[in-house]
Chain length 256, copies 4
């Protein structure tokens, strides 16, 4: 049952769409940027993706309603001046296991390729570990001409400097093998908070590359919501840790 | 062989049974509550479940007899004033692996769905990490109307506060996807001992929700048995650790 | 390819053989005992077992010849006064993964069941963590009548005291499910060296239970060989650690 | 999808080729040696190998171009005085998981066996943990006559001294089972840097054993390039760690 379940919610028709991956990662940078595009342009969710390689849990959302760990595909038609169609992959998790990562990316790419995708962009954060003064965006790509396009957008090109881990890397790796052009945009971010400014930097570059305009007024608001949700979960966790430490540590051996 | 083995012991007929999950977890709260229902109402075991994702061991029970790691399905007919049928999932373990968790929950739900289950309740503990004065029960659910029912039973509703990990979460997640209504009842418990009081709190809420009465006199007795069994195993383990530390630590490198 | 490869080397005929499991474990107790039986009675190797769940390595044996990680099946005919046939499972490893453990034990039991095995004995060590004065043998079994037989042999019966982990446990668990009678003999051993005395204690009980005599003169010699082999490997490892610590620890970051 | 993908780039014909494995390991010794042979003799890449058991990432190479985690097969015809044909396995990674290691080695050996390989050499490093004065090469083999050949080449034979972990071991293990002759050459190396001298020592022994001459002038240059690439990745990583440590460690709990 190592099988990615992709459930089509709506049959859609798209013209050579661009595929954008923005699953959660460092600083939630890619996810924040993509969620913002989805909201601002009122994108249509057309597929849901489940996998037994996701974390084995549900989330408790507002008012006590549970929701699954999930990836989702949204689409947009006629975006920006070039009337581009987009497919956007977002979600609340990535696969837990290395093999799961490979399998999911392959299965999702196979699925979206049916729409004749023309290019791939993967969005992520690049942790600096310290406060960021100027929010740079770094890039890498599958082909030289894509690197040139990134340079023209004033995106700093990485070189010989390690790896891109997870879905943002693997979709490009699969693209290389299948002759699809792809680029990765990584927003510099301290890495230790939900970073709306880094997401905005990525959105600026993406809107430049794809020739569309987007209002980022609500981006900070969205980041704030995400922060509060995460802070609340962390506060609960921290309370638990503090109380446990205050108690008889020996007793912890008795946890069933 | 990632296959859940479900062995039917007895063919049963049930009318829109409610499915209750209570596999071992924090404070053994859910398991204690469900084992008590099974004993008090003399439920019938009708299926045994095995999986290669369980811990690779057997347990030594009374008088030197070994027993397998196992999950079990019991049923009850005409419980309480509403003559409800129940299917109860208990056991001595959950799956060791994330993927195993997903697979087992899916396979078990597929199996019990043949009986046209009407609702799902999952029972668990919520660790507080400190002594609990008033044993609250917290809840979450798949649909708003289920949350309302929990509120009417004075169950505190969780909101935006992280996840429900393991079988208690995954059964609700599968329920959401299949349009089945489900709720999770989590008894607050320090988390570091077998907690009969928290189990009693859950039993009170469940008997209220399902409109049945249950005598909880023997619940503490059951908790005490469980505590003694676990304490004995832990004493043996601790003796071993103490003796090992007292010995020549360097020699430990020679363990084969 | 999660598949146990069992390669039959020789077609054999046995009469209701007893199946003895003695894969490596604590103190090499079971393995030493079984290897000794195989040598003394000149048992016939009739099957080799390989699995991708074994550690991914080969061993360098005498004179630079490599050998695979392997499990092996030996057989003996007409042993002792009761003319018993035996199948003995030995090897240089157990499966690395929990699931691998379940799969291998199931596959091996399926294989040996073709010979109409009458009973199962699993042999192992029980770590005390300190020097052992009197080498006791502890036991557990699948059925009450087997426990009685162990008691008659002055084997101390375990009760409610945790689990038997690995092949020695899982073969009994499978036996329970298939109505086969099985017992586990665990020799007390400090746990931190290759323990010929504990192996001898197990051999004494086994020869009593199965009514055969065995000369244990060479048992200590065998243990000494095993010790030297392991000590040599550990010396190399320790030299490496010492040298590494003496060097520039920072440089260790450069290991490729 | 636990499946090794082997993509044939070019149909080749070889005469009883020798199969040489040199995937990355300790000190990059084997890989450096094999990459050097491939460059000096201008070997032909004829197959690419991918696996979902590789690390789930891509590498960023020169000028921002990404490349996949990959294993590759090269071939050479009429090498040296004996006009030997060679198949050489190199790559930037080994499988992450034990099972993956077994599966990949089996699948790759099945593939190269179609060319009627006559012998196997596996190349690796043997970490000393301290500076090496005289670069010795150690060996082990599948058969006594291969050990003799290693001895004649002044290769020190290992004996009863532990295991050979990973592809260098597993290919020999598979060779043993299939009656193929194989040897492992392990260059002593401190283990904590990319070691061109150890690679040269291996190349000397291999060229002696296979009766070919090879210019090693560029070997140090190649090692230097590898060192710089790795050092750059490590510098980035170290910067990140330093900055993170300088920052508010508490904030690290907020990483999404």
């Amino acid at each position: 049952m190592d099988i990615t379940e992709i459930i089509t919610l709506e049959e859609i028709e798209l013209e050579n769409p661009i595929f954008i991956e923005a699953l959660p990662g460092i600083g939630h940078v890619g996810k924040l940027a993509a969620d913002h595009i989805i909201d601002e342009f009122e994108a249509t969710k057309f597929a849901e993706i489940y996998s037994p390689t996701f974390p084995p849990q549900v989330l408790v959302k507002e008012e006590g309603i549970v929701s699954n760990m999930i990836n989702e595909l949204y689409c947009l038609k006629d975006v920006g001046e070039d009337n581009l169609d987009l497919i956007i992959l977002v979600g609340n998790t990535q696969s837990l296991t290395p093999e799961g990562q490979y399998i999911m990316c392959k299965d999702i790419l196979d699925y979206v390729k049916k729409f004749n995708i023309s290019r791939i962009f993967t969005l992520g954060g690049m942790a600096t570990g310290q406060p960021v003064e100027e929010y740079k965006v770094l890039g890498a790509a599958t082909h030289e001409e894509d690197v040139e396009l990134l340079k023209e957008a004033d995106i700093e090109i990485r070189s010989n400097d390690g790896g891109i881990v997870g879905a943002s890397g693997l979709f490009l790796g699969l693209a290389v093998r299948q002759g699809i052009h792809g680029s990765c945009l990584m927003g510099e971010t301290p890495g230790y908070f939900i970073d709306a400014e880094s997401a905005e930097a990525i959105l600026n570059k993406l809107s430049h590359l794809l020739n569309f305009e987007i209002n980022v007024d609500k981006l900070e608001e969205r980041a704030e919501e995400t922060r509060q949700m995460i802070a609340k979960a962390q506060q609960m966790e921290q309370d638990l840790i503090n109380k446990a430490n205050a108690g008889n540590a020996d007793d912890l051996r008795y946890i069933g």
